[in-house]
Symmetry: C2
Subunit: 82 residues, 2 copies
């Protein structure tokens, strides 16, 4: 089984309230000098032995349609090297 | 500024309802043969020019204390190569 990773992050110009909350909580716990942005990670198992370019395009299409809200989020799709 | 990535995923033996929902939604949209597990991705900007081993240990500690629930989630910490 082949695996594709999709990372979805808020775009740089978009406020990230989750990340801000985590940044504040880290500071309160005594971790200084860390700024956090929070996003999502999808591990996608693709049927078949390898991820063909067509299959990868399909995952990219799925990421754009369902996994990311492209108005406010950027995504990155890559085949995982086992 | 140096950057550290923390990936947090549900452990393999743990049910992942979010991932299941996404897997079902993809199927309904016509994407066949894709199985999804959903986790979180944190991009952490660390003050200073480089991430020293001590600093990385600190981030690992933060991940264990705050970013991941280690009962049900596994995490991976790595320095991002710019």
């Amino acid at each position: 089984m082949a695996r594709v990773i999709v990372d979805v992050m808020p775009k740089p110009e978009i406020l990230d309230p989750q990340g801000k909350a985590v940044t504040g909580a880290l500071k309160r716990l005594g971790f200084e000098g860390l700024t956090v942005r929070q996003g999502k990670r999808f591990e996608i198992t693709v049927e078949g032995d390898e991820v063909t370019p067509d299959r990868l395009d399909e995952v990219r299409d799925a990421a754009e349609k369902l996994l990311a809200n492209t108005v406010i989020e950027a995504f990155d799709v890559r085949v995982e090297n086992a």
